[in-house]
Amino acid sequence: MDRLATAWAIFQGLLLEALPFLLIGVLISGLTRWLTPGGLWLQQLPRQPLLAPLTGAAMGFALPACECGNVPVARRLLAGGAPIGTALGFLFAAPVLNPIVLASTWAAFPDQPWLLAARPLAALLLALALTALLQQLSESQLLEPGLLAERRLNQPLHKLGLLERRSGLIGATPPPTPAATGTTATRADLNSVLEHCSREFLNLATLLVLGCAIAALVQTLLPRSWLLLVGGTPTLSVLGLMLMAVVVSVCSSVDAFLALGFAGQITPGALLAFLVLGPVVDLKLLGLFGVVLRPRAIALTAAGASLTVLLIGQWVNLLLL
């Protein structure tokens, strides 16, 4: 019974900490929707395979939210017609590449300059790898059906295949797009933006509750000592800390302080793996990703991120041990 009460308290702690960030993300997403009607500005973002994720990653500096807040913003980018690479680059890199997270890493590890450089670099590398991997899937295999439909509404018809269009006549000339004619789409009124925000917040909050409940239960039932037992072993320590990052599900803006507690007992590669994997893949995010990606793409993200982070951790251990 004690254990259940503790799990309930951890669940509430995770949830109450994450909900404000979710609200911030939803409000930023609503603001983007309001300021860029029709997503015209978003469609002008770079599409090149390398430049697109780099642009998305750089957007983290302008939108400093942790991973829960980033999901609604990434969803808005995709719904508004932003290039897939840019939106995915933002989704995967921005939780680390933002001023708050970099400052907290510096505050926690001022005596480890290598980490201050390695964390953003590794996050960028991970975002590039995941973006390249997920772009092997078609949009319909990658994006959640509701999001895909919304995205297609905001894309010019000439960019869609015949089967992807849900209206129009085969052989007919597609109507000119606002971008082509130089006209601007009308700005949605504030009430409808707020209504959209409230719907999005409630849908995401329900999924967040699910993620927090799983994270709290696993944390309570799985002793942390098991994950730290392998601290000194190069490969196992990286794996152990990766698992810990997934289980603990703590916000990326404070995970460096948590890592401070066991940094002295683990290999440098494991420390970096903890700080890079957690913001991209954790139990709390499990449900939230479902509003952006299809289950297969989520599985691919988890597998790709784990493999990339394992390799990065191993490489760092090879260099520094």
């Binding site: 009460a5 308290a9 900490e17 917040f201 409630l202 002793p223 703590v250």
Partner: protein
């Protein structure tokens, strides 16, 4: 259910989540769950959600059955969080994290400013012992600390505190070994205030500081039990 009633489910769910955040902020529940730096953010978010709920209640809009079902579930979850307050077992939580080295979660080495021994909190003592781990330096110093009893299987009970960086999910225990008076049986999770002296004991082949308890007083859990 009438159409106007179903249109109000969304504002109701928003209002309930807003109430969860705001009431947690005002009732002191956050003191048990989150580090102080996050409290204003939670309170402001609660106010924003309540304002959004009022704005949306004035403009009810239709929604499909699936969304209504999801929001009804959201209402129930928010009600559960609102009505069932957290009551964690700190001892259970700390024992689960006993692998954290040195009772860590904290590597602050050395205190910038050292309080006189009698004014040091349990956390101050742990940080001091970690930065200058020679037990002889503190022998016979007066000790006046409070914390909860951390009982780990196969180990003598310690007096402990939880350090939190973000929320209860990352809480890490710090503890001090205590030589309990003969006949006194500390109960796990019980909050105690201890007066005594710092002694030196041999444990597992090495000397360590131990609190020799002279006066033990049960106390209620403090309003802010987590330490930064």
């Amino acid at each position: 259910m009438g159409e106007s009633a179903t249109a109000l489910i969304r504002p109701l769910a928003l209002a309930l989540w807003g109430s969860v955040l705001l009431s947690s902020s005002l009732s002191g529940r956050l003191d048990l769950l989150l580090r102080g730096a996050f409290h204003p953010l939670v309170g402001v978010s609660g106010v924003l959600l309540l304002a959004l709920a009022i704005q949306q209640a004035n403009r009810p809009s239709p929604s499909d059955r699936r969304s209504r079902r999801r929001w009804s579930l959201s209402c129930l979850l928010a009600l559960a969080v609102l009505l069932v307050p957290p009551n964690p077992s700190f001892s259970d939580l700390a024992a689960n994290r006993s692998g954290d080295p040195g009772g860590a979660g904290d590597q602050q080495t050395g205190l910038e400013f050292q309080l006189p021994p009698g004014q040091r909190s349990l956390t101050d003592w742990v940080r001091l012992l970690r930065s200058q781990p020679d037990p002889a330096l503190y022998a016979d110093d007066p000790v006046n600390i409070s914390g909860f009893v951390l009982a780990r299987p196969g180990e003598p009970a310690q007096l402990a505190r939880l350090l939190v960086r973000c929320c209860l999910a990352d809480a890490s225990p710090v503890g001090l070994p205590v030589r309990w008076p003969r006949g006194f049986r500390p109960q796990a999770d019980q909050w105690l205030a201890i007066r005594g002296r710092m002694g030196v004991e041999r444990h597992d082949g090495r000397w360590q500081s131990v609190v020799i308890a002279r006066q033990i007083r049960p106390i209620p859990r403090p309003p802010r039990p987590l330490e930064p």
